[in-house]
Amino acid sequence: MTSSSKAIAACALLMVVCIGALSYWSEVRNDRDRGWVTRTLHVVEKLQALRIDITQCETGQRGYMLTGQDRYLELYRAGVDQVRQDMKELPDLTADNPREREAIKQLDPLIASRLAELNEGILVRKESGLLAGVEAVTRANNGERWMGQIAAQIGEMRDTEAGLLSSRLETAAASTRKIKVVIALGNTLAILILLIKYFVIQREIGKRNLAEASLKLSNEQLVRRTAELSETNIELESFAYSVAHDLRAPLRHIAGYSGVVVQDYGPRLDAEGLRFLGKITHSAKQMGRLVDDLLSLSQIGRQELSFEDTPLVVPLSQAMEDVAPEWAGRKVEWQVGELFRAECDSGLLKQVFVNLLSNAVKYTRKQEHAVIEVGQTRQNGERVVFVRDNGVGFEMQHAGKLFGVFQRLHKALDFEGTGVGLATVQRIIRRHGGRIWAEAELGRGATFFFTLSSPENKPREPAEVPLKEKKEKEEEMHVARS
């Protein structure tokens, strides 16, 4: 994911969290606002009740005064209890509103006075009878006045509460509206962000698909190209083979008929004629060798290798036997050290050694005391085979030409050769996944080094020994158990 798409995702997440928090907060506020509304309604209700309760007191008292029956007295007393209860609850309900508290304070003595008056009437009726009571009530004649004041006071309070109610309802409605707006806005924003995110992802997917498609295409091209190349390679190899093969026939004929002329007509030719025929024969031979070398070079590229775990001494000693005729009659000191085992094609490795040893023999020809050394060494953890001689060597600046086909560092007059041998060696080593290189100094000999495929060139002993030990230990344990 790109950083921009990450930022968008983070934005959307933040947005959703914000909306959640805001909704919660708004809901809490809305709850509180609605609480206020409920409370106001409560106060209004209570004031209503107060009025009814006072009326109940009056009804009870009046009934008693007229009839003297206790059931009116009961009604009166229940009314008084309720009025007292109402007056106790009202200050709590209006605790938030100082104006209402003030109103209640004023209401309190009015109610108390009225209740006292009613009570006095009852007492007079109880003690002195109907007429005295009526007289007392008539004498006081305050009932209407008190009641008027009480009603006015309650009415005022109810007005105040009504005002409050409407304002609180408004607040609650406003906060509900606000919540709706916040939620709608927030959600719209979140959806927008998610939409943007979606398109960004779509675009990224598109880009990736495009990249994948182009990768696939170039892979296919690569595969096709490789196939074409290897086909071309095979064609070239078989072309080289058939050219070399077809060249051999006329060469044999040149050499053959020259030989026939020498055999049948030699006595009739003079020395110069014989020398020319010798030249023809020699050139044909030289070309024949060249063709043979080319044939074997092209063959190595095409033939399948048969890998086998081989001690390298085996192809080496075979090679030494093969080159023995080349140094017959000369004094050559051979120093052959130990060689490791490797997974390789023994026949081709023999050819490697034949070519390297043959070169060593050839280039030490002018040495009185020729020394050829074969052994193993280690470089950067890799096991390396080397073939060293104290022959004529070469200048290191020409080392790059060493392994090229037909590349020669010496004149044919000094040292014969086709310039194919080392190319063949390199091809064999490469087909084994190894490398070949040389170090030399003019007049002081040359050393050729080669490795074989790295993974197969790993030392085997450390891997095998612990395994063997482990097995032996297991066997011991078996013995101990039985």
């Binding site: 093969h245 044999r252 030989g259 026939v260």
Partner: protein, 157 residues
């Protein structure tokens, strides 16, 4: 007896045939040599048919020198036909060719070739190779007895 063909040389190159015959003759190794210049003619000769219908199976050549690169039917096919037929399968066949291609060698030996020799470029080496082949197969080697060529017998059982 002197008219019986002792060596069948299957060789399409007139020069090679001439040089081979010369090398054999100089070593007094063959009185009767028949040269076939293509595979079909060689098979006609061996199986006594076509232009060689007058020949009989009772006198097979003592040695076939076979080149592999031949017109019409190649050397390996000729070898296959020789080895597939009870009347001819006992004839010693030496491949004498320019090719030392791995697959030709494998195919040759799998088809039961008696020997496989690559013609050297060098004339002296070539003469020497031909001399040794002729010496071995015509003088040292015990040729298969005539009973080896009857269809009822199987060899090597």
């Amino acid at each position: 007896m002197s008219h019986e063909v002792e060596i069948l040389l299957v060789e399409d190159s007139a020069e090679d045939a001439e040089l081979t015959i010369r090398a054999l003759r100089r070593n007094n190794l063959a009185n009767e040599i028949h040269v076939s210049t293509d595979g079909v003619e060689a098979l006609d000769f061996l199986f006594c048919r076509g232009v060689h219908a007058d020949r009989t199976f009772t006198h097979p050549p003592r040695l076939v020198l076979l080149d592999l690169k031949l017109p019409k039917v190649d050397g390996l096919e000729v070898l296959r036909a020789i080895r597939a037929d009870e009347r001819t399968k006992a004839i010693p066949v030496v491949v004498l060719t320019l090719s030392k291609q791995h697959k030709d060698l494998v195919a040759g030996y799998n088809l039961g070739v008696s020997a496989y020799v690559q013609k050297p470029v060098d004339f002296e080496q070539f003469s020497e190779a031909v001399r040794q082949i002729g010496m071995f197969w015509m003088l040292i080697n015990q040729p298969p007895p005539s009973s080896a060529f009857t269809a009822s017998r199987t060899r090597g059982a």
